[in-house]
């Protein structure tokens, strides 16, 4: 494996291998010395054309925990604002010796373009491309769900588990990657949201719901993944008002209490508190939002290890 561009790049055994390794990596967090020498001498570039806090910091921390050197590149305040293209920026960074490029870009397919047009030889990791995919987010969601719902998580898949994804499915790269990855792991996935924001073409195995109340009652999910309302990607009005959205599709204390006792709630962040999720549910005991952040570092360590540790052995 050279690049991680889509959740579909990974076979089921590979996903389980990454999750198991991430599980091991999360122990590094507990140690006296939170660092492994594995990627010493490698350089990881975080190339971020879109704003991001947790994904960038998470990748940075993961690379540093593995002793790689990290360069952070944010488009704002760089030569990109002078009109430099993705190609030139990436080639410049590679000429400086980057072994891996972590790319976050507003255009769908940009990571694929960077990896396959012969511009660079470095490994490319997709950290979110437009409304297409965000594979490491799906991996950390799967890890969090497995940790919370499966008794012996090592080596296990998610067969028999029901996951409900709620919100703006159309614009969400998190939803797309999760649909692919959770399906590969054997989970049943249903989507829920306003009809204007839930594409039928994705055909989730658990069906499509247009009301969160109905989804909770009929689908009885083990995990509910609330998506962020991405105002920056909405060109038209897809729902009448924010108040109406939060009334029909938002997670609140009352809906939370109707979920089964062992069920969990996830959110990829950043949260719009009071819109898609209220404070009571975000801070409740069912919420696994902080676990997601913690698992994010571990999953990204596992991905960087897989892409960079054996690179000469596989003859790239």
């Amino acid at each position: 494996m050279k690049n991680l561009l889509s959740a579909s790049d990974l076979s089921k055994p590979q996903i389980i291998e990454v999750l198991d390794l991430a599980h091991e990596m999360s122990d590094v967090n507990e140690r006296e010395i939170k660092k492994l020498p594995t990627l010493r001498g490698k350089t990881v570039v975080n190339l971020f054309f879109e704003d991001s806090t947790r994904t960038r910091i998470s990748f940075e921390l993961a690379a540093k925990r593995l002793s790689a050197d990290v360069i952070n590149f944010a488009a704002k305040g760089s030569s990109v604002s002078k009109g430099e293209s993705l190609k030139d920026t990436a080639q410049t960074l590679e000429a400086m010796g980057a072994d891996a490029i972590v790319l976050r870009h507003g255009s769908s397919g940009s990571a694929h373009r960077l990896a396959h047009s012969g511009w660079v030889r470095s490994a490319v990791i997709n950290a979110g491309d437009g409304s297409h995919e965000h594979p490491t987010q799906a991996l950390l969601d799967a890890m969090t769900i497995r940790q919370a719902l499966v008794k012996k998580p090592i080596g296990a898949d998610l067969s028999g588990k029901k996951v409900l994804i709620v919100g703006d499915i159309s614009h969400s790269r998190v939803a797309r990657s999760n649909l692919i990855l959770l399906k590969a792991l054997g989970a049943t996935v249903a989507t829920c949201g306003p009809a204007t924001l839930v594409p039928r073409s994705l055909e989730p195995s658990g069906g499509i719901f247009y009301s969160l109340d109905k989804a909770i009652d009929d689908f009885a999910p083990d995990a509910v993944l609330m998506l962020r309302i991405q105002s920056e990607r909405m060109e038209a009005s897809f729902f009448p008002t924010e108040r109406e959205y939060s009334r029909v599709w938002g997670m609140n204390g009352e809906r939370l209490s109707r979920l089964a006792g062992s069920s969990i709630v996830l959110h990829p962040g950043p949260m719009n508190r009071g819109l898609e999720i209220d404070a009571a549910s975000a801070d409740s005991s069912k919420s696994r939002i902080l676990d997601q952040v913690q698992n994010g570092v571990a999953v990204r360590m596992a991905v960087l290890f897989h892409l960079l540790a054996g690179d000469k052995g596989e003859k790239r």
Partner: protein, 176 residues
Amino acid sequence: MSKRTVLSSDDIRRAITRISHEILEQNRGVENLLLLGIPTRGIQLATRIAQVIKEHSATEVSVGSLDVTMYRDDLSDQPTRVVGITNIPTSGVSGKAVVLVDDVLFSGRTIRAALDALNDHGRPAAVRLAVLVDRGHRQLPIRADYVGKNLPTALTERISVKLQEVDGVDEVVIED
């Protein structure tokens, strides 16, 4: 390709018993002792040594495992390896007399990696090494404190240690 068995199940049992007694003798009892197996088969060997020690001194000795994959010096020359499990007892390694347990001692590079890994977990009072088979060809100044069997080998030969818990049979085989 020829194959011959160099250690039978009885030989392995006797070697483990002897190593266990040597560990007890040198450590003057089980106090402060921590056995750390190196995956995969070092873990089973460490567990067996602990079992023998328990039978003879009626005290539980702490056992754990220490994976060294992330500390290897040949990571980029080989396809990605599977990372094993690291499981250090909650009391940690600091101040303990740690005995690293592995199946075969060869170049010494695994043990070098293990010493680095151990360093990141704390500061043991002492570190010793127990191996079932020492096949020679060291590339680093490392030696074992407790050896089940010294087996002079040619570089072209392969040694495989098989244990009941993993392979369903106890034996050590040389292939070339």
